[in-house]
């Protein structure tokens, strides 16, 4: 069964908190918090996150999707992943 938006968001948030924001208050990272433009994700953490999402959901990202337009927030990431999952 396909993961829901909320589940994808939660998994992504868990990964970001563990890998990039250890010790931070998880409540501060909302679904709309800007990740790239807000400086939470840089190039290294971005490619790590992409690797995590690709492995977990067995999807593939295109290079142009690694941008502020597509992965700047948890909600945007979840929507993109779900779109890929739906597309099969």
């Amino acid at each position: 069964m396909t993961d829901t938006i909320e589940e994808i968001q939660a998994a992504t948030k868990g990964y970001i908190m563990k890998e990039f924001l250890p010790g931070e208050d998880a409540d501060e990272l909302s679904a709309a918090t800007p990740l790239l433009s807000g400086g939470i994700l840089d190039s290294i953490s971005t490619v790590k996150l992409i690797g995590f999402l690709e492995d977990k959901y067995k999807v593939e990202f295109a290079a142009h999707e690694v941008s502020e337009d597509h992965i700047d927030s948890l909600e945007a990431i979840a929507a993109l992943v779900q779109e890929k999952l739906s597309a099969g």
Partner: protein, 837 residues
Amino acid sequence: MAGRGAGAKEETTTEELSVGKLLGIALQLALVLAVVHTFGIAAGRGLNELTVLIFVGFLAHALAPARLRLPIFLVVSLVGFALVLGVFHAAILVGLGLSLIGICHLPLPHLARCLLLVVAGAVLAVVRSPAITTEWETRVMPILGGIFMFRLMIYMYDLRNEPAGVTLWQRLGYFFLLPNVILPLFPIVDYRAYLRSLKNPDRLAVYHRGVELLLRGSVHTLLYRIIYQELSMPTASIQDLGSLVLFMVSSYTLYLRVSGLFHIVIGMLCLFGYDLPKTMDNYFLAGGFNDLWRRMNIYWKDFMMKLFYYPLFMRLRKKGPTMALVVSTVFVFYASWGLHTYQTWWVSGYLRVTAMDGWFWTIFAAAVLTNTLLEAKFGRRRAPIKQRRIPIGIALVRSLKTVGMFIAMCSIWSFWIGESPSDFFSLLAQAGNSGPMEFVWLVLGIAGVVAIGVVGQIAFSLGLRVHPVTYAGKTGYTLATTAGLLLLSATVLQREDTHRYLAAVMKEGLNQRDQELMIRGYYEDILVDRSLLGEIADAQSERPATWLDLDQTDAVRRTGDLLDLELRPDYEIEFKESLLHTNRWGMRDKDYSREKPAGTFRIGLLGGSIELGSGLEDGDVYSALVEELLGEGFEILNFAVPGYSLIEAVVSNERKALDFDLDVCIYATHFPGLNIVTSNLRALVENEVPLVYEELEAVVRKARLEPGMSAQQVTRALRPKNREWPMKDLLAWGYGRIVEDCRARGVVPVWLLVPLPEDQQSTPGIDVMRRIAKEAGFLTLELTHTAVYGDRDPESLVLRPWDRHPNAEASRLLADALHGILLENSEALGLDPSGAR
């Protein structure tokens, strides 16, 4: 200020704009533009011509309904292009630009359109080459290149995945951005970021940010001027730890010019509603190489990540993330080097690939890669989402990292602008001339900066801010800063006794060192991509490719000896847009007989390009004018050749001048005289030319000069600190030889100091030159700057912005002054045709 791209708020309509706040922003903008105008910020680039347009355009844009705002911006941009370039050139620019945009939208496959753009780019690149020089090309191509050289790449990349609903106005607006006309070396605005920038509904906040950025850019520019005019120094004058530190810090901090201009550019765009991201983010505070890469020229970093790093990484990631990371990172830096060279071509018309650039990018790539691998393995401490008090230990580590990074960048930058790695290491060795106390002071100074960093971070984490964050706070800051600067310009800066550091904020143009370089025609050597935004690059930007130095023409021939070159006899050439003739003796002069006519008083003049009258008509050369002023019975024979200095004067006097039965022989020199002697001796050693004179060989031995030494190394070897100068031996030999040769023929030897229009202050070597000239037995005559040029604007007395030789007017002033001083000294000179030998 509202965050960029914030939420789903409805756009503020014109009616909803707070009129009070808009007027407040307009008032602040007027004050900031007054500062820009008063201090001539980027005036040489045309910003002064745009200030009224910016203000009027801003008001029109702010008050217009949403559907008209993009067209208004486009109209303002086109008017701006016409104001700075002229209507004709602006029309060419827009025509070529529209053609390129048209190619992007041809009904062809994406790849075919890309190939067509490459072909069009290649044709334009040929037009940009120095071989093709037209006025329109010189004016239009740098701007056209600035607009399209990178933005077309991004545009085509994004066109494949473009969001729906992009309008024609948006497309045109992306390319025809108003500030492009003042800055070809434009921050690479990303197409998607540009489209997003139009979505911020809080227009007042965006406008206010524009005012702030304009002011910040202006302040950066003023700080840059102080560093450039007063602290920046030639490497040759570094002779101890203090001057070394000053040189290294000033080399790196000159980057303020770039950040200043970039802030101004983005500020201008914010005034028209484009809420673009930051171009720079407190780059002097970077705590590591990766951090610097993320903070300095952010648009460049984003461009490289988008078009090169991510596509390559995504392609390689299946082969292992570490390998993909390494290859992508290294590729990005070498591609950056290549693209900087490509950019240099479009902006300057030169294609320069230097070893030092290679070293620079390799060092930077290695440092970032190391940092990247460490971060990939161990992670990176990020700024907390929520600000809280920072522990002193963390603050100390950060402060140490920041200061360490600043020192590293000062070192790398100083290395980069040097001539070779050995040049840099010889520079570092100068610190050895200092005593232990100087090192102690340096360590204490660094410790002090670290301590300030710790205190600053803790204060910041407790909520204390240097930069105001509220609308009222920002407004107060803007009003206070602009009012302070305007008051300063109207009071303190008007006084003649204002401290030179303060007075430097008003100076736009070349500092003393760069003026000398321009006189010596060395600009091509330093016009590499790293100096594209330097003052010399500015001055050279309009120089036609046909504007050559004489040694680049057939008017000279190589001698292969100490002279290196001489003028061809009986030659005529159009040189720097004037006619230059030589007589049968290879002199730029009338056709004098070798034997002096009876009843004639004959003066010979030895000198370089100034005496030759570089860029002047034959009749405007100052020696010719003085001859006219002296009247019948006087002849002045001009033996000057461009590039000649002391060594060449000795040879030329012996081989040529003294055969012309002279009564007086004038050796003309200038404030940069020592530098030219140094440079010429270096060339002789480099080319292993036989030095002929034993004394000259002794100087070379004493200074331990050898081929391969950089100009700075040779200078320091000839003028070392705390030791006797071998240069003094050189002067004593050269001056003594001229005097001796002249006296042997009964000729009065004269040492003449000729000021240049931009010589505002004496150089350290001049006292030495004067003393040794007197000791050698010269009659020393000096034309002072005030006596020659009075309070004339130096800019009105030079040939062209890109060529600082005296123009015809300056030559006339020089002739008047020289005529006067010759008459004053007529007795000592025996200035009397009837009594001539």
